[in-house]
Structure formats: C-alpha cells, structure tokens
C-alpha cells in the first residue's frame, strides 16, 4: 500500500541536500516504526520515492514523498486483506492487493513520524495513493517560490522584474563540472511578482515566482535572479533566501 506524505523542510534545515533529506526521512521512518516495504534483491532498499528535489539552500513548505508499506506488518490491520468492510477502514482503491488501513492508524503513524523527525521537519498530511495512480512526478505542474532579498533598490527591482516578464526568451547558461548548457528560462516563469517589505532597517523585498515543471524538468529561482542583472538589478543570487511555498499538482 502506498502512502503519500506531505512534509515541510523548514528554514533551519534548508542547507541539507536532497540526498541528506532522503537519508533523514528514511531514518525518521525507522524511528517512528513505519513498516516500510523493502525492495527485493541483494541490498534491499526501502521503497520510498521523492519528487521535485530541492537544492541545497532552499526550504520547502509542501514537499512530498511516497512510501510503500509492507501490508503484512501494518499495525492494527496486519495481514488483513479484503474489501474494507470494517468500520473506519478505507480500501486503498481498487488495488491489486486490496489492503486496508485503519484511518486512526494512519493518523497515528503520521504523528509518530512527525514527532521523530529532526527539528525543522514536520508532517503536514498523509493520504493513500490508489495503486494505479500515475507517478507524482508526472502530476507536478508548477512550484511557487518566495525569494527573500535584502539590500536592493526597490525601483530597479520592480523594473527588472517587469522587463524580464516582457521578454519572450531569456537564456541562462548552466555551469556544470563537465559541460555548460543554455536554457531558456522565460517559458518556465509562469508568473513573477514583487512584494516590498518594510524599508527599515535594510531594504528588504520578496519576489514570488511561479515556475513550471514540464515532465520533471524545471528551473531554479536563483537562475532567474542571476538573469535579473541584465535588466538592471545588481544582486548576488547566493545571498537570496529561497523558499518553495507550494507545489501544484494537476
């Protein structure tokens, strides 16, 4: 049975890499006693899938992973297979296994997981994924980011953002250790807006960006920031504090 967990990667753990997050979550699941199903084979791995990974430095309010539970070991419903006739039991969809889990049981697993996560992480919701549902990766259509910047001139910020949005194509060069690649950021930026914070003590501003995911492909807000310099905004994208506020599912 597959469970989808919505969780938070908070401000204090924003500097963890995606691999770190995956490791932390696996350990938290074990501490919380989740009966996670394992892959077959020589070195069994827990069946967990992560989606739309966040880079080092970016926090996320609504992140997701899917985890397959071992139906034999689910507490309270261990080994019970059937059509979910019992009260409060939810059939997990028209799955081949037809497993059921007690709603209360699911909630208490969620609580246990949240309690066993390191500070900065928490569970924001759990749901049962119907067996035949397509992978989450396919369903993610966009991410909404909030970019917190300091010490910028307001007028040039607003005009740079507007100028960016007026363009049809904004090329950005991605530098990787072995190659450089040009990507057109503009089609990915569905929307971008500036919210000005209090002027004191330092100029502070927030840019919200809605960025498209296209069959798993997307771009980073930092790349967009880097390109704003072409439109008159001087900013070091590494100093921006980037949070993903929301992930849009179809």
């Amino acid at each position: 049975m597959k469970i989808r967990v919505k969780y938070r990667k908070g401000d204090s753990v924003r500097f963890l890499s995606h691999l770190d997050v995956a490791r932390v979550i696996q350990m938290s699941l074990r501490r919380a006693g989740w009966p996670v199903a394992m892959t077959q084979g020589f070195s069994p791995k827990p069946k967990i899938s992560f989606y739309a990974p966040l880079p080092v430095g970016t926090a996320g309010e609504e992140e997701y992973f899917d985890v397959v539970l071992d139906s034999e070991k689910i507490p309270g419903s261990a080994g019970k297979k059937g059509s979910g006739k019992g009260q409060g039991r939810i059939p997990t969809g028209a799955g081949a296994h037809g497993d059921v889990i007690d709603l209360k049981e699911l909630k208490s697993l969620a609580r246990a997981l949240s309690d066993n996560m390191p500070p900065g992480f928490s569970v924001r919701g759990v749901s049962i994924v119907p067996d035949q549902e397509e992978s989450l990766e396919e369903k993610i259509s966009a991410s909404e980011y909030e970019v917190d910047i300091k010490g910028v001139e307001r007028d040039s910020l607003v005009s740079a953002v507007n100028a960016f949005l007026r363009e049809h194509s904004v090329l950005f060069q991605i530098q990787r250790p072995k190659e450089t690649k040009d990507v057109d950021l503009r089609p990915y930026v569905l929307d971008m807006d500036v919210k000005l914070g209090k002027p004191e003590p330092e100029e502070r501003a927030f840019i919200t960006m809605k960025i498209k995911h296209d069959a798993g492909r997307t771009v980073r807000p930092q790349w967009v920031l880097a390109c704003l310099s072409r439109f008159g905004l001087q900013i070091d994208p590494r100093e921006a504090v980037v949070d993903r506020k929301k992930v849009y599912l179809d």
């Binding site: 204090s12 500097f15 490791r23 350990m27 020589f42 390191p118 590494r238």
Partner: protein
C-alpha cells in the same frame, strides 16, 4: 554564566552567506540529540573541538562519548565546533565573524574550556587555525584569565610536543572520567578568583593531566634532547596549602608531584605524567542517544564499543600500546546497547567497534544474537577483522554484503617481515582466509600493507605482490574472477611503540619500492593503491617531533596550510620552505635512528608500557621472535598492570 561579552551571529545573516560555501550543513547543527542548553543556567561552557571537517568529526566515537558525559552534567553545556573548510574560513574572515559552535553559534572565545581531539598529527595546523578564528591567542603564554582554557586529548596527546606552546594542558589516556575532573577543577578555580597559572597547577595534580609549560627541555650540542625536567613552580601560601591538601588525601596516591620541603613555596610537578585508565568499560558511560548528523558522516552507522585495548602486540601499532590493557564489555551489555541505539537512532547498521573485533571473547554469540534479532533489521558490521578464516566466517555470518568486498590487513608481504612486526599471521592463514571469502561469495578482497618496515628488503616488498597474485590464482582456481586490491602505506615509526627508535624511510626510497609494486601488480584482477610518500614524511616529523617544531607549525598556519591530511590540500613544497625558514632539519626528526639511551620527546609521558619492554620487543623483532597475546592469561610483562594497578578484564570475569 558567560563572563565575556559577545555577539551571536544572526541566523538571517548566516543563511544569506552559507550559499557561498560547499556543504553548508556542516555549520548549521540542529541534529537529533544535539543539546542546546540555557546558557544562564550552567557554570561551565565546554567546546568540544575537532580539527577536521564535520563529517569526519561526527564519525568519531570518542567525541560522542565525551559529548554525552559532559552534557549529562547539569552545570555543563558542551557544544561542538569543527574545522571550517577553506571556503568557510575565507567567509568568516571576510565577514569578520569568529569561529562558532554549531549548537548555539557561540564564538569560540567565550567558552570556558576548549578541548581539542587529536586523532592525527596532520590536523595540527587546523588546531592553530581554529584557535585563531576563534579569537583565542595562539600561544598558551599569551592567554589571560579572560581566555578559555585550551586542552587536548586523544592518542596524539601522548606525544604532541610540537603543540606544547599552544595547548595549556593535555589530557592523557581514557577521557570519560578525567574530563569531568577537569571541569570540577575549573569550577573550583573560577570561584577562587586565582590567577591563570594556578589553574594549571591545580590541573597538574590530576592523574592524566600534562601541563607542558611546567617542563623544561635541555638540548645537547648534536640537537638531541638531554633532559626533560619539571620546573620548580613558585606558589603563594594559599596555593601551597591547596597542593599539600590534595597530595595528602589522594585520590591519586601514585602521583609523584611534590612540594619541595627544602624550598618552601616551591611546587614540583610530576617527573612523568601517567595516562588515565578507566578500570572497567562495563561501568563506563556510553551514549544511548548519540548525536545523529543530518548530513551523511563518513561512518554512517550506530557504534558500540565492545572492548578497549588490544594486546596482539603488533610492534608498529601505537594504539595497541596506548589503549592497554584490554577491557571487555559484557555480551549482554553490548547487545542491550546495540538494540537500544538502533531503535532510538533509526540507523540501519550497527558496528561493533574495537581495535580487533574478532578478538572479543564472546564475539560469536553476540553476532549471532544481534543478526537474528534487532529492532530495525539492521546490518551488523565488524571493523578491523583479523586475517584468518575465523574472521571471514564472522563476516559471512554477519551477512556482510559481498558486493562491498572484504578488507584484511596482513600488513607485511613476507613471513620474515610479519615475524618482525609480530603479526602472527602465516601465509597459510592469508590464503585460507581468502579462499573462505571467495567461497562465501566475496570476489573483491582488499589487503592493507606497509612498506618501509625495519630491515625490509626488496624481496620483502616483492612478496606483497607475490601474495596478491597467489590470492588471485586461488580465486581463479575456484572458477571466479576475483579483484585483489593492494593498498600500501609508508611505515611511520610511532612514539610509544617498539619501533620508536627506528628511522622513517626517505620518500625517494619509499617511492622506489612503490614502483616495484606498481610494476608487479599489473594485470587483470589486480589493483594497486598507495599513499603519498611525502605525506608519510610529514607525519613522521610531527609524530616524532619535539617543541622546537612549534615555530614551524605557527609559520605553516600563517602560510595558510590547512587539512594537510587531505591529498588535494597537501603541499610538500610549501612545507619544505617552512622547515627551511624555521631552521628545521626534516631528516633529523623523520629519518634518523635514535640511540637506546636517547631521551625521546615523549619519555616523560607514561603509557604504562615500560620503555625497557619496548626496547626488548625491538630486539625480539630483529631476531624475528614472536611475542604472544597476553589476553589469554599469560602476561608478557609490559608493566601496565602492576605499575598502574589495573588488569585485563574479559567478559564474564567481573
């Protein structure tokens, strides 16, 4: 309560800068089981300082034990600090930020005590860098009452004379009891309002504390040491009375610190400082809630120490001397600790650690019980296996993944050399262990060897390659295509070992011998790896060095030398220049054989193993005579048990 004024770096400022450095999670803490205490409610702030990067430091069991021991005390807040990587040091300097602890981001200089863990000589430049970044005067003599007490422990502390200008006091031997005694003395001193020198005197009354500034070193015209003597320390009447009280009531009656009856007001520190020994591991504290790093550490698993000490008696091995005698945990305790730590931590592997885990007298029962039943269906692993069929059988019983391969350390290629180093392993053992491994499904075997051992000839070197080829052939005869990896390091004669008098081979000669192996180890199924011979030399200089190397270390720090143990950071040319400018002859320290009666820079630090025993072992080495393991009950006379009033403790004989 912190007496010094300080600012804490704001999180918002830090998070806007950390995007500029590699692996920023090294500096942000927030781990499960990290302890953040209310600073107004504790008396002593202790910084546990590890002079290497976070992911290395977090893999060190000793630091986890001390963190646990210190934070178990209500009046102590212990926080961790690691060596910042090059990019982070640059950032700290650009921003004008001091080095800070990862729990509360307290600047290093506000701590009461800064305790370094010295695991490896090539971290010494990092120690200096951390002091400087932490705004603590580098040299002990420049520190005042307002500065932290800077101490250092770990195996290197038993011979860390090159650091003696920079460290106020060294803690020798097992730390879990001593560190709390140091904290108690510190509190007592702080309340007394006495000068800093008195703190050092009070500390030197503890068994296991070595205050280097209380000793003078005389050098002969040939540059060797003539004598290392305790200085006569003038003390005021209050201090005099305190010393007299402490000496009279013990608790360390074997200490030989004294008051000079002829000269009132003079304190004489002990001529030799003894390392501390925890009598029984069974009663020693062990963390059930170790700090669990959020970023992957080098060793990503739970650890349970099954015994301390090793009496196999390998003559090159420093740990085998420094951690004597053998003290085992009871099997029930090992199992209970392992199960509890696994359940609480969520690790999927537990490692039963020691210097030679197959030697644990109850290893079979513990392994089979843990493999059968543990809360996370975790793997059980044993580091440092012996080279024999029994050990491979254990690895098999553990279900060690045959993909990762098996690592064995015969240390020398020829029987002659193995006899010299007292590695009681025959070629038959090695082949049998390999065959066992191949049959169990391992196709990848890694062997560790040393070259440059005393009396080694080209034939002995070639024997390493012959052995690897024979092992490969044994695998092929079984119908598999094995990979045999030969990893070779240059031998460094270490202080407190029977080989402490030996010369370390010059890099050119080590390189020539590496070349012999590189030629012989060509072909399918053979892989050859080796260490930088220049790095071996630097390690030899600093592990065998005396106080005169302090100037070289300081210059090296100023020239930006950091992380010298990291191959991509190590710069032998820069070091050569540093030694030239500070007038140090590398050959004098690294490549010179010492005479029997020469005073060695660590002779005044007592490991418990007598120098006469070490010399006897050296002579036996030259005659290829083996010395048995005393673990089975027959004492070989190293001296620690009678001299220190301790004993070997095997499981079941409490």
């Amino acid at each position: 309560m912190l007496g010094v004024r300080y600012n804490i770096i704001e999180w918002d400022d830090l998070r806007r800068e950390l995007g500029k450095v590699q692996k920023p999670a090294r500096y942000t803490g927030g781990e499960i089981n990290a302890r953040v205490k209310d600073h107004s409610s504790v008396d002593v702030h202790f910084a546990l300082a590890f002079p290497d990067v976070y992911e290395v430091g977090m893999s060190h069991l000793g630091s986890q034990i001390l963190y646990h021991v210190l934070n178990s005390r209500q009046d102590v807040a212990c926080e961790r600090v690691y060596a910042p990587w090059i990019d982070m040091e640059k950032l700290l300097r650009e921003k004008g930020w001091p080095l800070f602890s990862i729990e509360s981001r307290l600047p290093l200089y506000v701590f009461d005590i800064v305790g370094f863990s010295l695991q490896y000589e090539l971290t010494y430049t990092n120690v200096l860098a951390m002091l400087d970044l932490g705004r603590i005067p580098l040299r002990s003599r420049d520190r005042t009452r307002e500065h932290p007490l800077v101490i250092a422990g770990g195996p290197c502390a038993m011979a860390a004379e090159p650091l003696s200008d920079f460290i106020d006091a060294f803690a020798l031997g097992d730390g879990e009891e001593l560190v709390l005694e140091i904290v108690d003395v510190y509190r007592q001193w702080k309340r007394s309002g006495r000068p800093r020198k008195d703190l050092l005197i009070m500390l030197s009354l503890l068994e296991g504390v070595y205050v280097p500034s209380f000793y003078s070193v005389d050098y002969g015209t040939d540059g060797t040491i003539e004598a290392i003597r305790p200085k006569e320390i003038p003390v005021d009447p209050g201090m005099y009375a305190h010393i007299r009280d402490t000496l009279s009531k013990g608790p360390n009656p074997r200490k030989c610190a004294s008051l000079n009856e002829d000269k009132p007001g003079i304190y004489l520190p002990p001529e030799r400082v003894r390392k501390r020994v925890v009598r029984s591991l069974e009663d020693a504290p062990f963390p059930l809630d170790p700090v669990i790093p959020l970023m992957e550490p080098i060793h990503d698993r739970a650890m349970v120490e099954i015994f301390r000490g090793c009496t196999q008696g390998c003559r090159f091995c420093q740990a085998g001397v420094l951690y004597r005698p053998v003290r085992e945990r009871e099997p029930e305790t090992v199992e209970r600790l392992a199960r509890e730590i696994l359940a609480r931590s969520g690790y999927d592997e537990v490692s039963l650690v020691s210097l030679s885990s197959a030697d644990y007298s109850r290893i079979k029962e513990v392994v089979s019980s843990l493999v059968k039943d543990n809360p996370c269906a975790a793997r059980v692993s044993l580091p440092s296996l012996r080279v024999d069929s029994f050990s491979v059988g254990l690895a098999e019983a553990l279900g060690t993944s045959t993909h990762t391969g098996l690592t064995l350390a015969p240390e020398a290629g020829s029987q002659r050399m193995r006899d010299v180093i007292n590695k009681k392993v025959t070629e038959g053992d090695i082949l049998e262990a390999s065959l066992h491994a191949f049959r169990a499904g391992f196709s990848h075997i890694k062997f560790y060897f040393m070259i440059g051992l005393p009396g080694e000839t080209d034939e002995d070197v070639a024997a390493i390659a012959d052995l690897a080829v024979r092992v490969r052939q044994a695998g092929r005869d079984l119908g598999i295509r094995p990979t045999v990896v030969v990893s070779v390091s240059g031998f460094v004669p270490k202080p407190h070992t029977p080989f402490q008098w030996e010369a370390c081979m010059v890099p050119e000669e080590i390189a020539r011998r590496q070349a012999i192996l590189a030629r012989a180890l060509r072909g399918p199924g053979l892989e050859f790896r080796y260490h930088d011979a220049e790095m071996t030399r630097l390690e030899a200089i600093f592990s065998r060095g005396d106080r005169r190397l302090g100037a070289s270390l300081e210059l090296a720090f100023k020239r930006g030398r950091r992380f010298d143990a990291w191959p991509d950071r190590f710069d032998p040319v820069a070091w050569e220049e540093i030694f030239r400018e500070t007038g140090v002859d590398a050959a004098f320290y690294a490549h010179r054989e010492r005479g029997k009666d020469e005073v060695l820079p660590w002779d005044h630090l007592d490991s418990g193993v007598r120098k006469s025993y070490l010399w006897k072992e050296r002579e036996r080495a030259l005659e290829r005579m083996l010395t048995r393991d005393c673990r089975a009950g027959l004492c070989t006379g190293c001296g620690i048990c009678p001299d220190f009033g301790v004993r070997v403790r095997l499981a079941g004989e409490r």
